[in-house]
């Protein structure tokens, strides 16, 4: 269970988060939507402690995330970064098994490589990419390697920052199914950021919309279409006219 209350974050004079109240239940798949630059990525980074919030509380299972023992806290999480953030000095399989090769409970190189291959297969990548370097992959392939790395250690909580951008529709479908499968089969908690409404419908139990620094709307994915929030309606139908300005 992740609970945020009153989370604020500003960069200089720019107020990005202005009091986020949000909770994610264990085993739930939450999708966060919102305009480009609205602070979705910053929100995930605040939860992980990569960005220090200016105010507010973030609790993980009732315990303050900022005070938790860092290693134990982070071991519960997996994160796919928006830009992939692969280590370009390491090969693909070493990237995927980075956590498995280090720290407590580390695997042998052979076992870690096997696990990396299995995860790569799950994101639709064959064994021929395993020994390439990230710079030798296409953007979409890098994204999928990042996804494989996020799920490699089978964490309890996984954050996906735009998992399907840059992928073809078929591969996007594979990834949507994968994320849904991780939640339903493995009981993981997932928070996904996406702009793709097909993904939202495929992945989400609940949807939260971030707008002007607050959670503007939150509810079950099925209730999204009936909701009478004009911002949400403009967003899901992709209209240029409406309460959300198109110049931001």
């Amino acid at each position: 269970m992740i609970e945020l209350s009153g989370v604020h974050k500003a960069f200089g004079a720019k107020q990005v988060l202005r009091g986020i109240d949000l909770s994610v239940a264990t085993g739930e798949s939450l999708v966060v939507i919102g305009g480009s630059g609205s602070g979705k990525s910053v929100l995930l980074k605040c939860i992980l402690g990569l960005v220090a919030p200016d105010a507010g509380r973030i609790l993980l299972d009732g315990e303050d995330a900022g005070r938790a023992e860092r290693d134990a806290f982070l071991a519960r999480f997996g994160m796919l970064f928006q830009g992939g953030a692969l280590f370009d000095s390491l090969t693909v399989w070493q990237n995927v098994s980075f956590r498995l090769l280090r720290g407590p409970g580390k695997l042998s190189r052979v076992a870690a490589r096997d696990r990396a291959m299995e995860k790569l297969a799950r994101v639709g990548l064959g064994s021929e990419v395993a020994d390439l370097y990230p710079a030798q992959l296409s953007g979409g392939m890098q994204k999928r390697v990042g996804l494989a790395r996020a799920i490699a250690a089978e964490p309890e909580i996984i954050f996906f920052d735009e998992p399907t951008t840059g992928l073809d529709p078929i591969m996007a479908g594979v990834i949507n199914t994968l994320i849904r499968g991780i939640v339903t089969e493995m009981g993981a908690t997932a928070v996904t950021i996406t702009h793709d409404m097909t993904s939202v419908r495929a992945i989400a139990d609940r949807v939260a919309m971030l707008h002007e620094g607050v959670i503007r709307w939150v509810g079950p994915a099925a209730g999204m279409d009936e909701a009478d929030d004009p911002c949400l309606q403009q967003f899901i139908h992709g209209r240029a006219e409406g309460p959300i300005a198109s110049v931001r």
């Binding site: 980074k45 990569l50 982070l74 928006q82 953030a85 370009d88 980075f98 280090r102 790395r149």
Partner: protein, 258 residues
């Protein structure tokens, strides 16, 4: 006038704050040296990149510097009929001063820049954030292996540089200045003291530490895309070079105060 004072004051305060931050960073790196986990693979890779791959450039600069030094000392010595001091002064000049300083500056150019560019790129492409989320401390995984490798590698480079610098002086001495091959070498060996060499190696260790520290610090501080990485690289090289020369003066005062 008041505005000038205020600006100067702000500038000074900013400079002092960043000096404080760098000192804290150095202390943190030193603290991590003795606490696990240790990334031996990374350390070995850095030792190779910083030490082994700097050998050609350090060796070449040492040979040329030794040769030029021999010519200058000969010309200077000739003014009071003291040409015979060439072997001993070349040896002292190389081992105490030019060996460590030249090696330090060449490593600053090669290594401070590449460390800053690599870590800076990792910073702006979120790779540092990714490291953290994978429960790996960037200080331990990136900074400590580099700083340790540079601190150990530069003295070794200085030792090689000393030998090649003296060789450069010897080559010029016997081919251009009419010295006898064995007499030149005997002069060098008789005159040189252990402390001449040791003090240079200690300087080398300090310079290596400073180079890697500046590379890591500016790399980790970089922000703002490719331009930010460029700025960090430049700042790393400049600050490493200035710190090397300042530290060299202080160490010389400390070691050889009259």
């Amino acid at each position: 006038m008041i505005r000038v004072l205020a600006t100067t004051g702000r500038g000074t305060r900013g400079a002092l704050a960043s000096v404080g931050a760098v000192v804290r960073f150095a202390a943190a790196v030193l603290g991590h040296l003795f606490r696990p986990p240790f990334y031996m693979g990374e350390f070995a890779r850095q030792l190779l990149a910083i030490g082994w791959q700097s050998l050609p450039v350090v060796g070449l600069t040492a040979i040329f510097t030794g040769g030029a030094l021999a010519l200058q000392i000969y010309a200077g010595g000739a003014r009071f009929n003291a040409e015979a001091v060439v072997p001993s002064i070349v040896a002292i000049g190389i081992t105490r001063e030019l060996g460590p300083v030249m090696a330090g500056l060449m490593v600053a150019a090669r290594v401070a820049s590449s460390i800053a560019a690599e870590i800076g790129t990792m910073k702006v492409t979120e790779q540092i954030d990714a490291l953290v989320t994978l429960s790996t401390d960037p200080m331990k995984y990136l900074a400590v292996p580099r700083v340790l490798a540079a601190t150990l590698a530069v003295p070794a480079l200085v030792a090689v540089g000393d030998a090649l610098g003296i060789l450069g002086g010897w080559l010029v001495g016997i081919t251009r200045l009419g010295f006898d091959e064995t007499v030149y070498l005997r002069n060098t060996a008789d005159f040189l003291e252990t402390w001449d060499i040791l003090s240079g190696l200690i300087k080398g260790a300090v310079f290596g530490f400073l180079v890697a520290l500046m590379g890591c610090w500016h790399g980790l501080c970089s922000a703002g895309g490719a331009q930010g990485v460029g700025r960090a690289t430049k700042a790393a090289v400049v600050s490493a070079a200035v710190l090397i020369l300042a530290a060299n003066y202080l160490l010389t005062e400390l070691f050889f105060r009259a």
